[in-house]
Symmetry: C2
């Protein structure tokens, strides 16, 4: 059994909680939130704490917090020489306090607040400094059913950039599509199957190839 | 039973053939291809012709041909006062020869050559000049299981433009994502679940709303 501490009470932390709680082989030992009002609903399911000093050693401590808080929080953990990972796409592994065994556990996915995550669709980018820590992180991914990839810092930051293109910028295109249809009082629903099919097509066919079909049809005039 | 003629032997025509062939209540009467080598594989399933003069009247004749060929082909049909529709997103209904009852039957979807289409995910944009023709086109959509929308020429051309944004330009973003990952020898597969989830999210949540989540995570630095 892999004991896990979870730090943070945001969107990602809630999804990680559910992923860990619903899986065999991993156990959420303690869950920390600074805000005393949060997480009380979960107190029957794991050890909720609001004081970092109450945090005990675990096989893995996951910092699911904002990028800016990673360094300070990792220093504030009341133990050392334990495996501590952050979940950011852009922060260096070296921003974690040196007193820990350090790692990165970056889920490359967009999370919706109220929609349960299927972790088989959440690839984790793993980075470690010591080999045996990779084994543990892989086991956690296997337990929650997620694919994983060993990715170094530079690659992770590159992926993060690529994610902005295929997620944020793509959503901007959807938004433009919506604005264009709004102008003529057209139901945006008409475009939704095309949006989904375009994303499905690139699952199978390289986007280098996929462009030819629709471009042929749409771009002629 | 609605008898249908199909004109054209391209990607869309093949998908329409399958949609009609596999559905109750609609029957493919004749299928025309200029090229004598094509469609021979289908001769046991419908009347394949290579000479337009052999085309007989039908309840509906669908021109699934390139935009440039619509006008000329509609004039060459050896009958008049029948319902003839084109399938283009950008061509005016008035480019069809006036001797026909005219309509537009525009499927707003991207089609892959070798992937069977689920017509329940192909919305048809319908335009007609006479009301009773709309009833027939709706019946065809219902028979093949497709949603349909009554869309005028201006709206259709607007939709066509919006489709370029959510399909072609989106695919360009996927391509950029692929290029970015290639540079650092990263497996593009890591991005695929994010691509799919981004498209799924906009099925439920307006893209005006959907942007906030990922932008919060990704755009900070």
């Amino acid at each position: 059994m892999i004991n896990i501490n979870l730090i943070g009470a945001g969107n990602l932390a809630h999804h990680l909680f559910r992923g860990i709680y619903n899986s065999e082989g991993v156990k959420l030992q303690q869950w920390y939130s600074r805000d005393k009002k949060r997480l009380s609903a979960f107190s029957s399911k794991t050890g909720i704490i609001h004081d970092l000093k109450a945090l005990q050693q675990a096989d893995l401590t996951i910092l699911a917090v904002s990028d800016d808080a990673i360094g300070e929080l990792s220093s504030a953990l009341p133990f050392d020489d334990q495996l501590v990972v952050h979940t950011s796409g852009s922060v260096s592994i070296h921003e974690l306090d040196k007193k820990h065994r350090r790692g990165v556990f970056y889920p490359l996915q967009t999370f919706s607040k109220d929609v349960d995550v299927d972790f088989s669709h959440v690839p984790f980018c793993l980075e470690i400094l010591e080999k045996e820590d990779l084994i543990l992180l892989k086991k956690v991914c296997e337990a929650i059913g997620s694919p994983y990839y060993k990715i170094n810092t530079e690659q992770r930051q590159t992926l993060h950039l690529a994610a902005v293109f295929v997620n944020n910028f793509t959503n901007q295109l959807y938004r433009i599509g919506h604005e264009i249809t709004d102008i003529k009082n057209i139901n945006f629903d008409i475009l939704k199957p095309l949006i989904l099919e375009t994303a499905k097509k690139v699952q199978e066919v390289s986007p280098y190839m996929a462009q030819t079909g629709p471009a042929k049809r749409y771009d002629k005039k």
